[in-house]
Symmetry: C2
Subunit: 548 residues, 2 copies
């Protein structure tokens, strides 16, 4: 069953080693690619969920919860079963043995089939991502659909590679006095136990799929606890997984939805003695708490960071400004990879358009953002809406943090009048104000910081990232020496670096099967999406031997 997915798995396995470009899922939200009528069907499917109980075969008391509201202003009104922690864990444990016994190949092929079906429903999921995260549609489609699916497939490939790096059996011969000693040995992959995935508001699928599929392929039943504001995309994904698992003859309880309603469900599940793996994306505070308190579990977290840009010089001033403006504007800075701290020598920089003072560069970035977002109708397709009131509060509080270089602007969404849309605010902050720039200000808030020199900038990049973490770093320079020094600073701080992005690649974007997301080498994350460290520990190998 599902043997047709073997080819996909094989391509993924070769891609994770090469790390050249490769994608299983086309990222174009075009009905030409996804099939005639797919866009309309996806939208209809999304709308069919609104104002109703979400259809599920999960056991339930009949009691319902859920209060999602679209950042674009629509009340979703989808109701989900109120979870019973004990029942969820009991069901997960009961489902485990048959899934474990099925072995790595079957688990991988079934997991790939789940992804294939998820991919078919990319338009439906994109609508759900848009109206929970606040992403504009095209981004919700790409990041919430094919890019998330690629990251999931990558996690499956890493898990499969790790499980199959040991032969499932061996014949062992050792010369001895008389006949050699001969033994038959069997090596069985055993899962760690029940896994928990704690989703986030802004990237409900992209940030949850890797943990979900890494745990599932390695034999662990998974309980998916979405962010209370972004349930629907994961509810749909879980339903698809359950459908495929049941078709393949497995207990659908291998993947279960657990909807939080602000009652401490994440904490209750994460510290349950039978929960052995926790994957979390979200705040540093709660991530650190999980690492310290979910001690019975292997905990993987992706937390906040200080994404930093160092500007030394550039051979394409316009290209640099445009690229930075796009990175700051995309999804109004609500990406864990969006730049926050922009370090510029106080004496200015050399460019292909001559020397530019600090203030000119700061004004240049501000101007590029303003131009990019000048037209409301086009702006909202880039910025999307603010995901939640906390982000709005931060945007509104940002001017108090320093000298405003670019004011945030409220934009009227032409299609969704009640959407909360804000353009980026840029604030000039003195290097002495570490109290400001060594915290993450999640949202469309960035700081331009006049530093003494490029060397000082690289020192600050190193020290702040090593201490507080970051998911991305970026440098602009025409000097090979500076680029080398930046690479060294980034490597020593443990952050992935992009150099001289002036075209169609942006620091906030990482390509599955090529770029690592996070590194595990700084406080922002415990491992990369995806590296061997992300999958190791989700399973063990247990051996049995007997004489041949």
């Amino acid at each position: 069953m599902f043997e047709t997915n073997r080819e996909t798995l094989d391509r993924a396995l070769s891609a994770i080693a090469d790390r050249g470009y490769w994608s299983a899922y086309p990222e174009s939200p075009s009905p030409r690619v996804y099939g005639e009528g797919s866009a309309e069907r996806g939208k209809e499917a999304f709308e069919s969920y609104l104002g109703k109980a979400f259809p599920t075969d999960q056991a339930s008391s009949g009691d319902l919860v859920g209060a999602e509201r679209s950042p674009f202003g629509i009340e979703l009104g989808v109701a989900y079963p109120r979870p019973d922690t004990g029942a969820l864990i009991a069901a997960a444990k009961a489902a485990l043995p048959a899934w474990r016994d099925a072995g790595p190949d079957t688990r991988a092929l079934v997991s790939v089939e789940i992804l294939r079906r998820i991919n078919e429903r990319s338009f439906e999921i994109a609508n759900a991502v848009q109206h929970t995260s606040g992403q504009a549609f095209v981004m919700a489609f790409q990041a919430g659909g094919p890019h998330a699916q690629d990251r999931a497939l990558e996690a499956i490939a890493y898990g499969y590679a790790a499980m199959t790096s040991t032969s499932p059996s061996a014949r062992w011969e050792k010369p001895a006095k008389g006949d050699p000693l001969v033994m038959e040995k069997k090596f069985t992959v055993v899962p760690r136990g029940v896994a928990l995935v704690i989703g986030c508001n802004t990237f409900p699928t992209w940030n949850s799929y890797p943990g979900l599929f890494a745990s599932l392929v390695t034999g662990n039943p998974v309980i998916v606890k979405p962010h209370p504001r972004a349930i629907l995309p994961l509810a749909i994904s879980v339903a698809i997984a359950r459908e495929v698992l049941a078709e393949a003859g497995f207990d659908p309880a291998l993947v279960q939805l657990a909807v939080e309603e602000g009652t401490g469900l994440a904490t209750e599940l994460a510290t349950h003695p039978d929960v052995r793996i926790v994957d979390f994306t979200g705040s540093t505070t709660y991530g650190d708490w999980l690492e310290a308190n979910a001690r019975q579990a292997l905990v993987h977290t992706e937390k906040a960071g200080l994404n930093t840009v160092v500007i030394d010089s550039t051979g394409s001033y316009k290209g640099m400004l445009g690229n930075l403006a796009f990175s700051l504007s995309l999804y109004s800075g609500q990406m864990c990879t969006a730049p926050q701290n922009i370090l510029i020598p106080a004496g200015g920089i050399d460019t292909d358009e001559g020397h530019k003072s600090f203030d000119e560069v700061a004004a240049g970035i501000a101007g590029a953002v303003s131009r990019l977002l000048g037209d409301d109708a086009r702006a909202v397709e880039l910025t999307g809406a603010l995901a939640n009131p906390d982000v709005l509060a931060r945007v509104e509080g940002a001017p108090a943090l320093g000298e405003v270089v670019l004011e945030s602007r409220s934009v009227k969404h032409p299609a969704f009048p009640e959407a909360t849309v804000r353009t980026p605010v840029i604030v000039k902050v003195d290097p002495s104000r570490a109290d400001v720039y060594t915290s993450e200000h999640f949202g469309p808030i960035s700081f331009v910081i006049p530093v003494e020199s490029t060397e000082a900038a690289l020192g600050l990049l190193h020290d702040t990232v090593a201490a507080n973490g970051a998911l991305t770093a970026s440098v602009y320079s025409t000097s090979d020496e500076v680029l080398d020094a930046a690479e060294k600073a980034a490597m020593e701080a443990g952050v992935n670096l992009s150099c001289n992005l002036t075209g169609g690649v942006f620091v906030n974007q990482s390509a599955a099967f090529s770029d690592f997301h996070g590194s595990g080498a700084n406080p922002a994350a415990t491992a990369s999406l995806t590296d061997p460290g992300y999958v190791a520990g989700r399973f063990h190998v247990v051996q049995s031997r007997r004489h041949a």
Copy 2:
């Protein structure tokens, strides 16, 4: 440099995948194999250390510590530099960058060269292991020499395989409007940081080498803190490592010795903010403490366990008794893999010599031990000496735990009159006495436990191992059904199982490159020696990308 070790590394890499028999180092302590005069030279080298300051190039205040006494009754009187924690860590950190920048290949080849030199000095190290652990010479040679070296090489191979599973560079092309997007990407392996290895009394090299070499090959400087009773074997190993590192042009501070004198040095080092990896073998109490308190570090522990034997039936009664007797007697039960709890149906078992009652089987094991150890001169070559007074106290206290089936006997060592040698004590304990048999009684102490049935035995195996951990499990049965049930119970408890060992393979022995030691799937250990989970997390990959 050291390119001649490439072949050794390549063979190791292929061996870890296949897990058939393969060994880099001959385990025969024969001068024919190791070279004419090697045995004598090794003994002389060992003796040259006694009663003196250990020769070292490590920076030191001149102040000396160390009070090792051979379990065979010789005062060693070797003195080592008193460590200065701050200086050790500063030196380790200073040594890191060049070692990191050397890359995986150089690190692997230098590490293999260290092993090659250690191998050449196997006789010298064997004497040191004998007179610190109390192992008889042949075992000290095999387990402390080639077997330890094989485990080390295995760890190097796993570390190298993990580091090189990602291409060091990639060219990424993505179709775009107009020209494709093309980027050059670089992926650099960065070590986690300063590593600490905490050695144990009984297997100073075998249990320390894997962590030492896994950390070293992945780029981390290593501080080796031996058990205060077993310093010399690691002092020699560290000196060899430093010599090779210096010859290869690296800072010898990549491997440093830190001698404890009961001052809490392990705790001080393990909780130091700059110590990022801790490998520990020893008590459950301290291992659990490390896991809970060395929170800044990746902690790998190997702790105590309840190694369990289930006897259902046998087609070779004599073979079984002999095999068990050997496993109980070898190094007088002071192996973390030696059986402790022997579960036998109260109604007896079927054998090729007819039905045997519980008491007959218990007496049979006792008789086999007595016969095996009947001759003092031959006995001591199997049992060695008791490693420390704690073991002796447990042996002397064992009769109070139940009904004695076999008394421990004090044996006069013909060559070392002051050696403390004790044969195994076997105690019959009722299944109701979980208070007795769910603790580890480290040393030549085992329990025969009359259980209701084989099914009850397998249930008890599962439950006690899942709760308290174990490094080994063993079953005897002529029934395929029972063997399958035992495999299932062992797999679900997460312990490696041996079936029907009646010949020259013993449950306490695991062959590097084939058998896993520990599993990570039960409380006795966090990972296997060696699996991908043991090396992942010791390094990360940091990326840099720029347009081509």
